[in-house]
Symmetry: C2
Subunit: 390 residues, 2 copies
């Protein structure tokens, strides 16, 4: 077991109708003026916006609004939000939405108390020193940003999607009501499930020895998500299934499933290149395509681990390690297909000719390798993307 730090200070309010307490929750922290961020307006159609505004008003909390966050959130939007947060002197940024909205809120929170451009933090030119508190009302179980220390943002002008990690942007609180996810489309639900699984599978395969307690927790969370996924794709308003998936979202990315292991999200790096280049690619869908391809390419380098994964997560019974590993990868691949995820670049409408550009983006122009089960350089990443064409 490697040394680790575990820090998950976000207070989670989990359960039915909890969004109606938002005003009281913020008021209890002592904040009086906040910025409210949300996406393209679905929360206005389904009544959530009204519930939030009502609760905030009842608790005399002044609201500065900044709706319209896009999927794969954009730095340009963040810059506008930062400007407004500064001029209005807001005390907290409240995200009502999924990972894109929460990530936007995190960058806004950093920018609002900084003098430099927020992109400077993303590319490492500046180190963040403080941030406004961020709160969230989660509307889709996926990114795990509600309890994580990371956030991603894109700059379309340079086709870059990059991430940042800092304890400063761990949300102060997260309001998680599984009922709010009943109306998430089957496709988006499946993307979310893929993202959740990915966060734990990534950590599970970082190159280090088994860590009994962490690996067991990871496997149990994966089994729980897979089982709930099979229910929720048929019954979108099954509370128990939605609740298991939503709580798994938070636990899969607050690093519980990485404690004592090397901490990295290698396949995410490949996906960020993909959805950075092709804005229409949903992050979870990109991951669902990439994981089986990545696994097929790397599993021979740690057959025992892939066999364990197959047996403990996918219920594979084969006593032969190599055969078990292969069955496990097949089961994972079939699972992603069964919930409607794409399995090839063609499924996304992306030409195979794009592979070289993707390799270039993944490797930052052949200047880095990505440490996965093995080190992934140009050659390896090219082969993995080629496996996404079969």
């Amino acid at each position: 077991m490697f040394d680790f730090e575990f820090y998950a200070p976000t207070k989670v309010f989990f359960g039915k109708g909890k969004q109606k307490d938002i005003g009281k929750i913020i008021s209890n922290y002592g904040y009086k003026k906040i910025m409210l961020q949300y996406g393209k307006g679905s929360i206005k159609q389904n009544g959530l916006y009204d519930e939030i505004i009502t609760s905030l008003a009842q608790n005399n909390i002044e609201v500065v609004e900044m709706g319209g966050v896009e999927p794969n959130p954009k730095i340009q939007f963040v810059r506008e939000a930062v400007k407004l947060a500064k001029s209005e002197n807001v005390q907290l940024v409240l995200a009502v939405g999924g990972g894109s909205v929460i990530d936007t809120a995190k960058y806004t929170a950093l920018g609002a108390v900084s003098d430099c451009d927020v992109w400077d933090f993303v590319v490492g030119k500046q180190k963040p020193k403080s941030a406004l508190p961020v709160g969230c009302v989660l509307t889709i179980a996926a990114a795990g940003s509600e309890m994580s220390w990371s956030a991603v943002v894109s700059d379309l002008s340079v086709n870059m999607k990059r991430g940042l990690a800092s304890d400063l942007i761990r949300p102060l609180f997260a309001v998680c009501n599984p009922e709010l996810t009943y109306t998430v489309s089957p496709y988006q639900t499946a993307c979310g499930i893929s993202d959740i699984l990915a966060h734990t599978i990534e950590r599970y395969f970082t190159p280090c020895d088994d860590v009994d307690i962490t690996d067991g927790i990871a496997e149990s969370i994966l089994r729980s998500v897979i089982s709930a996924a099979n229910v929720v794709m048929k019954e979108p308003d099954n509370y128990e299934a939605r609740a298991n998936i939503m709580w798994a979202s938070s636990l899969s990315h607050n690093n519980l499933t990485g404690c004592g292991r090397i901490n990295a999200l290698p396949v995410h790096q490949l996906e960020h290149a993909l959805s950075g280049e092709f804005d229409s690619v949903a992050h979870g869908a990109g991951l669902a395509m990439l994981f089986p391809a990545w696994a097929k390419y790397v599993y021979t380098y740690n057959i025992a681990r892939f066999a364990r994964f197959a047996r403990n997560v996918w219920g594979v019974n084969n006593a032969d390690d190599k055969a078990a590993a292969e069955e496990g990868i097949k089961a994972m691949s079939e699972f992603f297909k069964s919930i409607g995820m794409p399995s090839t670049l063609q499924d996304f409408g992306i030409s195979n000719d794009s592979i070289e550009r993707l390799v270039e983006l993944c490797t930052f122009g052949n200047t880095r390798t990505i440490n996965s089960v093995i080190s992934l350089g140009e050659t390896e990443i090219r082969e993995i993307f080629k496996l996404c064409t079969l």
Copy 2:
């Protein structure tokens, strides 16, 4: 899944040699003057005290010492510590030890910023409003106090051992180095293991429906502790086993294994009466005796759950639920015996005549029942203690 709040803000610094960073850690938080609490001096013999003092001095942190905390910590000691903490204006209470020392630090932290007697918080006469921050360097994996919101304390003058729960006393940070537990005696190691298992088993059996994700995590943590226990009783300096047990200690009592379930520690109530009355009873040993007795008494009221417990935790293979449940209880009972835990009152040197007194203490003089798999009143508690005589 029931609604829940999850809040585990303690920052955990886990790994080899981490205690040597204690001065830097405290200094990073900005504290300059602290109270250092510890037990009966074993830390002076094994060098830990010197490491702590050196690191604090290197970081110019002024130290007010209060050693001598006893197992089953006493309110009289806390009162002395509070007096000193107030007169010295310390900013943080640092516990170097196990649950008893950390619990003492928690009460000291509450008392240091309050005008009333600390016992008023324990018996509910006053509600705590603030507390000094508490930090800890863990030297025994057991109570889980390093990440919990609870603390127990005894007043021998009235033979009472009682607990208190408040977010105010969740430690700010916990330094967890498994190496520090190499020298814990086999008996104390086993007591700690029993306490860890108890914290998760209690939550696992509270009377509510299955919560897939939480139950899976609980089962995997239990399996991990049992497996590590079998190693560590033979190899006390096995790092991996000590590390799995130590991390399980924190995860078993920060309520991760209770999310979405009814939250209660019913068998702990029986044990608190026992070690409140008999100060020589180690908390974990008391629990190890009580759990099989309690299980034998209540399992018929939820056979399916006990069968699941038997299969998923103890590896029982019996397809018949009742038989599986019984085999699981037997396996648990044998496990506790195998690590050297007492299984009867006689093993503690306690006469069967004490049962009536214990029943009286558990029920606060027949004024309460304890909600377990079933509601435990005078009659039920008496029967459970009688099962501790067989």
